[in-house]
């Protein structure tokens, strides 16, 4: 669409683009609608306040929090500018001049040097602020005229493009706007033309809104030092309760928690908790914290506790038990709760699942799985094809070499099944060439043994249990 516009239009930028011709395949309208004779005038329902801070560049995220008291839509422009949508704020904060002065005063009170401007489009406001012109433009039709005086450096385009313009003898935006559109697109690239369109409020310029990151973080100081883990658990209870409340109010859950125990001297003890799934339930949070605390050995008495949540994650809707909140009617655990409790005490890697890999070499045909499928809704997969030859329930970590006596005992082994030749893996340097047999020992154990084809040695690799 963009390329099409650029190619077909040769008129200069001040005349608005002609309406696009109707596609030939469109059916003829039954009703003859009046076609607009005049192209739509540039209009904007937004009003943007831009502020550019003088170096050194401040932390924009922190300033955004200040800006959010004036408007709900704040956007960051790295490295040193903020954009605020203020159309909706005019009703509350009075006329535009008053609002602009109010916001400017906020930056001054923070000790920051800043230049601001207000315009109906994001880029126009930004460019004015960069140029240091404290303009307040409300009418979109007046944009082209007001922007004409700005130096082209305020666009913050890359050096190549500015150099091209400079060599063309263009120093002001007005001179740029007078050039033919197609030639401009060819010389500067379509992105520059789009920028100009956005600045003149002919094209929408969507911005990503700043959303403050939310965390639960609360601290609890003790009057006396606590030197026993059991008391810590008690002291944590209200904190966990408030954390669960905080999460419930935001319809969110967490998957990680961090607990910090501060001592009189020395570094604080950090405890990190991971949950098997996103949750906001007080009982589960408390459960996992209890398990972690029971493993903890205190180096020194604790003076303060700090509980911080990880990033909030949206909670998927599940139906809750109406009665589980009352009394001690706990209800049975879910698989996620069980796994999480086991992992909290035994360690993250002590609990895992296994899965098969389609591969001929026995030792490469399986793997451990640490991301378990813990959701309740689960359907049995269709029968997968399996090897026809039997496989042992237990596989040794490493094949163990059978001594010569063991291997050559005349009636020590009865080869019940085999050989099954497995010759594979030459491509990754771990090639095998083996003949596998199911063998029964004289005394009853059924084993999986193989003979290495090159060395003729016998190995034990598995046990049929």
């Amino acid at each position: 669409m963009k390329a099409h516009t650029v190619k077909t239009q040769t008129a200069d930028l001040f005349t608005a683009p002609a309406p696009a011709p109707a596609p030939a395949s469109a059916p003829a309208p039954a009703l003859r609608l009046p076609t607009p004779q005049t192209p739509p005038a540039p209009r904007s329902t937004q009003l943007w306040y831009a502020v550019v801070f003088a170096p050194p560049a401040p932390v924009l995220q922190r300033l955004s929090l200040h800006a959010q008291q004036f408007t709900s839509l704040v956007s960051l422009e790295a490295p040193n500018a903020l954009l605020l949508e203020v159309k909706g704020s005019l009703k509350l904060f009075g006329p535009l001049e008053h609002l602009q002065a109010l916001i400017d005063a906020r930056w001054r009170s923070l000790g920051l040097q800043a230049a601001s401007a207000v315009a109906p489009s994001t880029l126009a406001a930004l460019w004015c602020a960069r140029a240091g012109k404290s303009l307040a433009i409300e009418d979109p039709a007046a944009l082209a005229g007001r922007l004409a005086q700005l130096p082209i450096a305020c666009t913050a385009w890359d050096a190549d493009r500015l150099q091209t313009l400079h060599s063309m003898g263009i120093t002001r935006l007005g001179e740029l706007l007078r050039l033919p559109r197609a030639g401009l697109a060819r010389r500067l690239g379509p992105a520059a033309v789009l920028d100009l369109d956005i600045a003149l409020a002919r094209q929408p310029g969507p911005r990503r809104a700043f959303v403050a990151r939310q965390r639960f973080r609360e601290r609890c100081e003790f009057e006396t030092e606590i030197d026993h883990v059991a008391y810590l658990g008690k002291a944590l209870e209200p904190l966990v309760g408030r954390c669960a409340q905080f999460l419930r109010e935001r319809q969110a859950g967490v998957q990680t928690l961090a607990l910090k125990l501060r001592h009189r001297a020395g570094p604080a003890t950090q405890v990190r908790l991971g949950l098997a799934s996103v949750t906001s339930e007080r009982r589960r949070l408390a459960d996992v914290l209890d398990q972690q605390l029971s493993r903890l050995e205190l180096r020194a008495p604790v003076r303060a506790l700090e509980l911080a949540s990880g990033a909030l994650q949206p909670l998927s809707a599940v139906s809750l038990d109406a009665f589980s909140g009352f009394g001690n009617a706990g209800g049975p655990d879910t698989a996620a709760q069980l796994v999480e409790r086991l992992r909290a005490r035994l360690g993250e890697h002590a609990v895992y699942g296994v899965s098969t890999i389609p591969e001929h070499r026995p030792e490469a045909a399986w793997r451990r799985v640490h991301e378990l499928q813990l959701d309740a809704a689960f359907a049995i997969a269709a029968d997968r094809p399996h090897d026809a030859m039997p496989r042992p329930v237990w596989l040794l970590d490493e094949p163990s070499l059978l001594s010569r006596q063991e291997a050559l005992q005349p009636n020590g082994w009865i080869l019940e099944q085999g050989p099954e030749r497995i010759e594979s893996g030459w491509w990754d340097g771990k090639g095998v060439a083996r003949d596998y047999y199911c063998a029964r020992q004289a005394r009853g154990a059924k084993l999986w043994i193989f003979q290495e084809r090159h060395t003729k040695c016998w190995y034990l690799h598995g046990v049929f249990a």
Partner: protein, 242 residues
Amino acid sequence: MGERQCAGRKPEPTPLGAPEGREPGMGERQPSSLVDLLADARVWKLKDASASQRLSPSRPVWSTGSSALDARLPGGGWPTASLVEVLIDATGLGEMQLFLPAFVECQRRADGDVPWLAWIAPPHEPYAPALAQQGIELDRLLVIRPVTAMEALWAAEQALSSGVCAAVLLWLKGTDDRWLRRLKLAAEAGGALGVLFRPECHRFESSPASLRLLMTQGEREPRLELIKVQGGRPGLVDLGAP
């Protein structure tokens, strides 16, 4: 189900001329909240019903896959919600083949949620292709590798009592009677089958397990002996019979 409901729902008949000092019933004191109402012992909750039903003696049994063994077990298969002890010194005598068909059966037959299997401290790596071949649902198998025996027992107790696992297998060198009793209680609470593999040297210790088996190497084939069968007769089992 309906009969149970009636039995549970039937309220205590309140005599008309109740003495003054009697504890106030629901008629006199309006329950102030749902909490009070639920705390009342006379209120019958559906959740209790399902829990008690799980513990009822008519629990399902799982066929062992061997008719000779089934015939010797009370109910004709492995009892669920109980502890089974297998005394075995070496692995490889076909001890897993006694249980795997039952696990496959229980995972297949489950409607809706497929129950989990937990294997705690197995002697070797459970070989996924073999289990898949036998029909075990690998996505519902949990392998747990604790460091110490205490952690293994704790994990087994958690898994048994959670109600998530259909069966919990635990390999141990040795443990005391007190822990076995805890495991048995956990198995009953969670409705799971607990299987404990221990060396043969524990044969003459007392055990709360409802079923104790001894597997040893025989002349030609492994020998299976029932040492203790609650509600059955101990003795040798001829596994070779079809």
